[in-house]
Symmetry: C2
């Protein structure tokens, strides 16, 4: 089967580009002497996970218990569930542990710590826990210097859970505008996590795990001293946001959506294609490429998207020469944010350097 | 099972509200004496489809061949595929017809008409076709007064397909700001379709089908003379965009996302919840409610969303009284655009007037 045999829209994965992205991240982590714990929320595919974990211990990160279940079924045992635990998920988490998973939870409040410890005492389990640290004030977590809260959480965990350390995610790095700023965000992650860990250690709590990460900070960090593992996910495919941040080149983007031209609007110089927001997602990234960029056509973007329709136009408003794009023309749309775009699809059509579909890899969604 | 037993995030469907929305649309169509051909792209569920088609002929509208397949398997035969046909889907469409579907295609170009007719001649099929009309210049379709193109398409179809009529979708109505404007958009749809149909009839083409529709125009139309069927989908659940247009009340919205409070940021007065864009979609609607509105709390909106995290804050920036929302508190988020939000989920948890889950209805995605 070749590209021209697919029904559109369809998610494509360029395997050589994916492997180059993986090799680049692996080399960066080896250079720092730090372990990689890939975040599988971007890929949600056992086949992609195998590529991301090759050469590492098999430790992985997930964002849902559905991912934990799926990757546990695929043979992964050391799983970090990197979203603050909700009480209604505790029974499910405990059940995964009873089936043999080493499922590490994260939390940032005494209330959540007490719920985890209570479950541990009730079930005779000691779930491993990391305290989430807010290293850049962008979302969740304990402030790195809030020693009182850190130690209160550690104390609440003491009977019934196992405090393993701290974790943080430098999501603020997505707003960086230079390599200098990306490096500074990486240092914010590292120093925030280290400050919190030192406070816990000073209070007598072993804190062996220092877990940090985001694709931009991991690739631009200058010093990861003290960090024991890095969590990253987007790097495997890359996307237009990463390219805009200078983290990769547009040509490094390994995932795209294949679409067909289904109509023309000659008066307005538009192409109508069969990839709308259902295929592309509603993610506008940094708001510079509409709903995606047409691969190989730097000025063609998806300016508007309905459920199953996209409108492609010149980014500067020049009318397109529609004769160059007859009905049925196949175009590839590069994603603004690949986590969101890939999430709209249930399989990868894997290309291995030609336009032949070498393999089809399923991917899952949901919770 | 009750709400408190669900793992969050989870898609909820309030069945009494859904049934009231359906009854309202049915009454509007009966008043006009026009047939309803529900658009199932919003619901993507056989159970919801049964509610929407009850009392009508069973004619339905879909936006993908996957929907056509699923609803054909659920017993529907008269299916309008309301996205311009791409050449790479023709073989699949023909296969559905050979299995017994009356699958009507739409198109707006001579090139697409020639492709459909060529397939018809090759396969000995006469696929029914509607010509798409651009009644409000918002997306695809032939201009209503472009008689030359309309008749050229009709001529291209003559050998190998069956021209059944015209269709249009007044998507521009989503920009209306009053009942007057919504009524004017409805009249644009009607008059655009009628103008095109009369041109085709004058050229000797039977044009029995005049198909129009969008939820706002269907509910605000004053006169549907000449229209033979109306296609609508969002009405079944309604959403914040519809409420902002004045098409429904916020309290009519039948679908919501159940989420748990998983953290607090006391300094910033934020709640962190476990519904991010994966559960809510990235659709910002009219950009007035962030990524969704907390049901029962008019000033609480999802101001920011990551993949599995939402940040809930006061829309006016006042810090929240976090003690009112302890860790584990369940909140329901009303969707900006329910087609996009529902698409992120694989099932409906159906409530029938209490907090007990009366039923679980599967929904599908993909192509």
């Amino acid at each position: 089967m070749r590209l021209a045999d697919l029904e559109t829209p369809a998610l494509l994965l360029d395997a050589p580009k994916m492997r180059a992205n993986i090799a680049r991240m692996n080399a960066a982590m080896k250079r720092h002497g730090v372990a990689l714990r890939p975040h599988l929320k971007t890929a949600k595919s056992a086949e992609v996970a195998r590529e991301m974990t090759a050469g590492w211990s098999g430790a992985v990160t997930v964002s849902t218990l559905k991912e934990a279940e799926q990757f546990f079924a695929a043979g992964y045992r050391d799983i970090l569930y990197a979203v603050g635990i909700a009480p209604n998920k505790l029974a499910h988490a405990a059940e995964l542990v009873r089936r043999g998973a080493t499922l590490t939870l994260i939390l940032d409040s005494v209330a959540a710590a007490e719920a985890v410890a209570a479950l541990g005492r009730a079930e005779g389990l000691r779930l491993p826990v990391l305290i989430e640290i807010d290293s850049d004030r962008h979302r969740a977590g304990v402030a790195p210097n809030d020693t009182a809260l850190l130690t209160a959480i550690a104390d609440a965990l003491a009977e019934g859970a196992e405090l393993r350390g701290v974790m943080t995610h430098g999501g603020g790095s997505y707003g960086a505008t230079s390599a200098e700023e990306l490096a500074a965000h990486a240092e914010l992650e590292r120093s925030g996590a280290m400050t919190a860990a030192e406070a816990l250690r000073a209070a007598g709590h072993a804190c062996p795990v220092i877990s940090v990460g985001s694709t931009p900070t991991a690739l631009f960090a200058r010093d990861l001293t003290g960090v024991t593992e890095v969590r990253v996910g987007v790097y495997v495919f890359m996307d237009l946001v990463m390219a805009a941040l200078g983290v990769c080149a547009v040509d490094d983007i390994a995932a795209s959506v294949l679409t067909s031209v289904i109509g023309h609007q000659p008066e307005r110089g538009w192409l109508i294609v069969d990839a709308g927001w259902m295929a592309l997602s509603r993610d506008r990234g940094l708001d510079t490429n509409g709903y995606g960029l047409v691969a190989g056509h730097d000025d063609l973007i998806v300016v508007s998207a309905n459920q199953e329709h996209g409108i492609i136009a010149d980014r500067h408003g020049r009318p397109l020469d529609l004769a160059r794009f007859p009905i049925g023309t196949l175009l590839r749309i590069l994603p603004n944010h690949v986590c969101a775009t890939a999430a709209q699809h249930d399989r990868y059509h894997v290309l291995d350097g030609s336009d032949a579909i070498a393999q089809v890899w399923p991917r899952f969604g949901g919770w």
